[in-house]
Symmetry: C2
Subunit: 320 residues, 2 copies
């Protein structure tokens, strides 16, 4: 099932499945940011989701989709951060084991968050080979079910539920913009958005230093030769195959953003919206600010995907 | 009228008066912070109020309480920050002039915010004498109405509207805690809280380095001999006379907090609640953390009073 492409109905099913566990996050608005962009912005506050990121939606849908016998053997994933914590918590809501394989250079706050949720942490070298070897080993030893961070139909359907809510809460949108990493959020957003609003546009904000998604969309085929170099630690993953297929089918448009613009947008969101969001979220506002002329008067949904910033990196706060 | 003590009915009237202009701010909750305190916490997000602080409520109520002829001459106040920006915006909603007297050592972000709202800024030396002299001069020259930051019945009644909303949004509370500076928020909270829930307790969090409020409540009379020394720039003002009278009548309890504990609580609110709040707000959570044993199982409202932090003081963000 994970390799099949999910549909809009899967997003609807996911919404019902995760409702007892996930947070219905608020939608925030700002007169100041509307004036700055010329649009009417609706910020879906997924940094206020459980574990501080939309990732809980997909992980929760995957965990609660499992048959009881499969579930009992547990779940396993590899993740540099938010998906690991999300799967750990999702497993805990069902009382099943969870194993997370984490590169040993991952952000400290995200590693701590995974452990706090009660998962077994397996550190590996920061290479795809080391990660896959350890993942295979854990699967062999435990029989745990792999829940890939984004190239998984259950995960994609779960991520789409944020946009179902956003559309209802905002009263309709012309454009939705989401950050693009592996494409779990992008593909889920595409399904939810066009299931409800076929004419709406889907924009995807991607770091210029990790723009394999934009290149893949342009080429119509996966580009795997790009080495990520960006502060957006949540967006360094390579676009997945089912994710690309869905994004092409939904005519998603990529907008690439320089890191400096992302950090400036993050500062704006902290200062004006008073929300602690991570760079991988702020990139969406940066993308909008670079495309102001196309936004005049439009109703735009912005997915604030996560808020797991390492505050220890802020000397002013750490000094206290 | 400003020197009379306001009543619960004045809070009800204020709520209707400011409704067209003020934001109905959300109430946030956190499983993590509930676990940490042993209470059920309801955070009233007044840092998401217009101009980023509850102060807009009182200022707006004062401005829209004025007779047309008085209003036409404008309003004037002295403020180190949030009240100045709030009165400036409130005046703008009514299309009348506003003058703000600001000490020349005020936080840059707050000065900029006052000017952005279109008020005339008058800088003075950071002493009470210099401030009052300039205030008298502006009043004499313009006929503007003085709207004191906290020792004003209209302002107190306006601040109470946050707690009216909080009580409705939370479904009832055993304790409400608010920061204590001049006592505008404290006195307004007292009126609203006991108007709806006579048995509920009112706690007030005050910096140990500016604890004239705690000393005044203990003495039953204003203590004016304390020189403030605290990072909580919004809580350096001296408790006002009408404010003390109301707080005594409502048996408010002061809890004093060291700055280091306030900064630690601020970091918690940024990290866990993902909200950018200023030290003068975070002090309320610090006070709760110091009184955990008294809170077990209680429903506690926490007023997050403002979020106007000078992010330029964060080198990590400023470097971008």
């Amino acid at each position: 099932m994970p390799s099949q492409l999910p549909t809009f109905d899967d997003v609807i099913d996911a919404a019902a499945r995760i409702a007892p566990h996930a947070q219905l996050t608020p939608v925030l608005t700002s007169r100041t940011l509307d004036a700055l962009t010329g649009a009417r912005l609706f910020f879906k506050a997924e940094h206020l989701q459980r574990v501080g990121a939309f990732k809980f939606r997909g992980a929760c849908n995957a965990v609660w989709s499992l048959q009881a016998a499969t579930a009992a053997r547990g779940v396993v994933t590899h993740s540099s951060g938010n998906h690991g914590a999300a799967l750990a918590l999702a497993a805990r809501t069902r009382g099943i084991p969870c194993h997370v394989i984490v590169p040993d250079n991952a952000v400290a706050a995200k590693r701590a968050s995974i452990e706090r949720q009660g998962a077994v942490l397996h550190l590996c070298a920061p290479s795809i080979e080391a990660r896959e070897a350890m993942c295979a080993q854990v699967q062999a030893e435990t029989g745990a079910e792999l829940v890939h961070p984004y190239a998984d139909a259950r995960v994609i359907a779960g991520q789409g539920t944020a946009t179902l809510e956003l559309l209802a809460q905002s009263g309709g949108l012309d454009v939705v913009i989401a950050p693009l990493g592996g494409g779990g959020l992008g593909a889920g957003t595409a399904l939810a958005l066009h299931g409800r609003a076929p004419q709406a546009e889907l924009w995807l904000a991607e770091p210029a230093g990790a723009a394999d998604g934009a290149a893949s969309l342009a080429a119509g085929a996966l580009r795997t030769d790009i080495v990520p170099d960006t502060v957006c630690d949540g967006l360094r993953g390579k676009l997945g195959a089912p994710n690309l297929a869905l994004l092409l089918a939904h005519r998603a448009q990529a907008v690439t953003v320089e890191d400096a613009d992302t950090i400036a947008a993050m500062q704006l969101l902290w200062q004006v919206l008073k929300q602690v969001v991570e760079p991988s979220s702020a990139i969406a506002l940066a993308a909008l600010l670079s495309r102001r002329e196309a936004l005049a008067g439009k109703r735009v949904g912005v997915i604030l995907s996560g808020g797991n910033v390492d505050l220890a990196a802020l000397p002013w706060l750490a000094a206290a």
